[in-house]
Subunit: 156 residues, 2 copies
């Protein structure tokens, strides 16, 4: 995809996240994009992202869902305000809660597709549903409640 | 602690997990123990396990809760059967669902304590509650449904 990922619009101080920060060289560097009214990210797990031989680690799946949904929530809020994601003031979001249902074992060695869909926007709270697809099969679903970053996390 | 961790009893083919496998050199190698009727694991996040500067990545917190609760569920089942965790046949468990509520930002740079408590054992399903404590403050809570490993994940 040639378009810029949601996460590539994040301000520098917000780009160290292990899941999706472009400046975290040890991190997963998840990249999310709009695909019509849904969002999509693709990710090829590393060999060490294993649970039991042949299958992906559930904590990685939770991480993919988490960052993809936070990115989707951020992008959706900018969209509702009819603003570009690099316009000021920057809006920052964090996860309030994360629920993952592991429906089927996720095979290791194939690129995963993580799809997100906005369920609700209510003030500073955004609810996003997600699914993780491997080889055209949904292996996990997620539901993430995203909120604007609290003052206690504000970067000085 | 001098006692052996739950995960150190896992069979070799079940010890590659990114979260808690003793044989995964790139993994987190989470170690869980009984502490009276609760279970406990301690984990010092790495500097790159960051969300925003000063705070721990939520996907790591989800991973810690996940593996700690699966380990706790396994240990509890062996306990109810009055068997050592290295007795045969080996019982293997996986996560069916994972819920994490992020209550407060989790500071980076301090050792985290993950505590687990069995809520319910019903047939092959075990429900475990967890909390993640940093500097004596609960920063996240978790609820994990653990099930016996399905045949589709069986290692040949």
């Amino acid at each position: 995809m040639s378009q810029k990922a949601f996460q590539d619009y994040y301000t520098e101080d917000f780009s160290h996240c292990y899941g999706c920060g472009r400046l975290n060289e040890h991190g997963l560097q998840i990249k999310s994009y709009w695909d019509s009214d849904e969002s999509v990210a693709k990710f090829l797990p590393n060999k060490h992202h294993i649970s039991v031989p042949g299958f992906v680690y559930g904590g990685l799946i939770a991480s993919l869902i988490d960052c993809h949904c936070v990115g989707t929530a951020a992008a959706a809020i900018y969209k509702t305000q009819d603003r570009s994601m690099d316009s000021k003031p920057a809006l920052k979001f964090v996860t309030a809660s994360l629920k993952v249902d592991y429906i089927a074992p996720t095979p290791l060695g194939t690129k995963l597709e993580i799809r997100g869909k906005i369920v609700e926007i209510k003030g500073k709270k955004i609810v996003v549903d997600a699914k993780v697809i491997a080889d055209n099969k949904t292996c996990a679903t997620g539901n993430v409640v995203v909120v604007q970053m609290p003052d206690s996390m504000k970067i000085k």
